[in-house]
Symmetry: C2
Subunit: 153 residues, 2 copies
């Protein structure tokens, strides 16, 4: 889209945001994890014990898609499914110690990523940027910490 001169805020946001997402995906590939898997891991850590249906609903994705993501994390021992004894249909999702350790590494990578992306802004400018982006996110109905890319479009 080479349309406006200079480009508008929305185009810049989309372009820089796509770049940020691509660079983050590159960095975490080192851990053999994808951004969707990491988003799920973070959500399970933040609110453990939820059913797959509940988590899928929060992320705005079909439950069938969640199965594969949980499989990948469970195969590696980062999360576990615990059957509810009173209603054996439910699989409560919990993070493991290995999962917590992985989240620690991810947080470090995230900070490095943040610094590299915003190295052309000083610390006060970064704060201003975060303020503006948070305000837009809230105004646009984005839930904090949930990437809208999960949603059905």
């Amino acid at each position: 889209m080479a349309l406006e001169n200079p480009p508008g805020s929305a185009f810049l946001l989309a372009a820089v945001g796509a770049h940020a997402a691509a660079r983050f995906a590159e960095r975490v590939a080192e851990l053999d994890l994808t951004p969707p898997q990491i988003g799920l891991l973070g959500l399970i850590a933040a609110s453990p014990g939820q059913s797959q249906q509940a988590v899928a609903h929060v992320l705005g994705m079909p439950p069938s898609r969640l199965v594969g993501l949980v499989d990948a994390l469970a195969d590696r021992g980062l999360v576990e499914r615990r059957r509810n004894p009173t209603d054996r249909r439910l699989h409560a999702l919990h993070i493991t110690d290995a999962g917590q350790a992985a989240l620690g590494k991810i947080a470090t990578i995230g900070r490095e990523h943040d610094d590299a992306l915003c190295r052309s802004l000083d610390s006060s400018e970064r704060e201003t940027l975060r303020t503006f982006l948070s305000r837009i996110a809230a105004d646009q109905g984005l839930r904090p910490g949930i990437h809208p890319g999960y949603r059905t479009v």
Copy 2:
């Protein structure tokens, strides 16, 4: 990715950017155009007469992918392929009057989209946001007006 509290700049950028891109795609669907088609249309308008190979290289996509995009725009009469008489292998890409008209509508939609996305910022804040984003884009090697989503990852 619900990892940091509060979320870092990179995550906010990726989330807000994905939201911006999704809303823009919704708006231009009314014209029966997709964002990649629009990006190509804008590039052809900005530098007409280039070969498909050259355009594919600028956008960072395989030439085979460009064929389908050009087909879609040419079928609708928005662009045209002109064979180079001295080297008949080359197809120079040009925008048509209908293509220019479509770009006009797209620009209007883009401004509306920009206003809706940034309605929680005043005009001076929007200017600051554009400044910061432009600086990040330049620092990160993003070429002005080219969406990095075209690139091979």
